[in-house]
Symmetry: C2
Subunit: 199 residues, 2 copies
């Protein structure tokens, strides 16, 4: 029995109409045919407090950890706040790495994308985030860097991504994420994929 590569995706923003959430919707339409994307929110995850952890992992964190653990690969979209990624995203990651010895991200391939209102926001956020992901023993897909700048100009009024370049880079990053997942796991169970054209 073969099966698709399962990618779990979440955005580092709680805002309802967040562009980084929209980017996940767009990514779902740019996947290789052999992959599927599940989008979850980090909205219900409380602030990390070790005193809380000792009493028991909150249900929302348990669900988040189970979603991560049952995925083959991870996709994160992140805005940039103050030269880094949001505290709310780091907080969700901190929880998923706990309790000690039970890091749900361990060994998983991961790709990062950013939507930014300006011209370069996202670069520093991704730099800091990727350092954290490496420290979590994840396999970071480094290329292509995907930052959808001036993002408000790149979605139409139906919240559909309409920028051809952004779509091409996202498509390539997602293909690279799936390819890395196949290579690392060396599993026989994956659906086969037609080779990507080299563009």
């Amino acid at each position: 029995m073969t099966r698709p590569v399962k990618i779990l995706a979440f955005a580092g923003s709680l805002r309802k109409n967040s562009y980084n959430k929209l980017l996940l919707q767009a990514a779902a339409k740019l996947l290789p045919a052999s992959a599927q994307l599940e989008i979850v929110g980090i909205d219900g995850i409380p602030l990390y407090d070790q005193d809380t952890e000792v009493l028991g992992i909150p249900q929302s964190v348990k669900r988040f950890k189970e979603n991560i653990e049952s995925a083959d690969a991870i996709l994160i979209t992140t805005p940039e706040y103050n030269h880094s990624f949001p505290g709310v995203l780091k907080n969700a990651i901190d929880w998923a790495s706990r309790p000690y010895g039970h890091n749900s991200f361990n060994g998983k391939p991961v790709a990062v994308m950013s939507a930014a209102p300006g011209l370069f926001g996202g670069v520093s956020a991704q730099d800091q985030l990727k350092q954290v992901l490496v420290a979590l023993n994840m396999h970071v897909v480094a290329q292509p860097a995907v930052i959808v700048t001036s993002v408000h100009e790149k979605f139409d009024i139906n919240y559909e991504l309409v920028d051809a370049d952004a779509k091409q880079f996202m498509k390539q990053l997602l293909a690279n994420l799936v390819d890395l997942t196949r290579r690392i796991t060396q599993s026989e169970e994956w659906l086969q994929e037609a080779p990507l054209s080299t563009q």
Copy 2:
């Protein structure tokens, strides 16, 4: 009328018996005579959500912003989680930098210390945090680096810091923070301080 240099201090951990909170208590006893330290918690600050911000800044965030704005300098103690500082700390910083154009940290001198259970935890957390603080247009006191490693061995049973080296480094960092604050503000109102011995 002269007055002391007011330092606002907070720890990047919510745990009640956090070593980084204890470090703030210890710092209060190692200040130059011309300075005073006020310790606040970041416990009540909710997760940042721009949809919430648009409805109005939460009271806990307002108080935190006012505390920061009325201080002359800032002291932050931070643990290291996953190669960086905690999400809960970044979240509090994100809030205090909002709304757009009303960054409460703007122009303030800041020093950072870490308590760590192991031998090197804190280095990467401080690196990432200092990048964020610079992006907030703060003046970071770079030296000495203060990381109290194997911290559980350095407090006695009354939660008193008893490690002479740690105390000496903390004392120097606090003196440097106060000195930088005096130089940057070039105010006439500061209490005078006897010059520090060079060791």
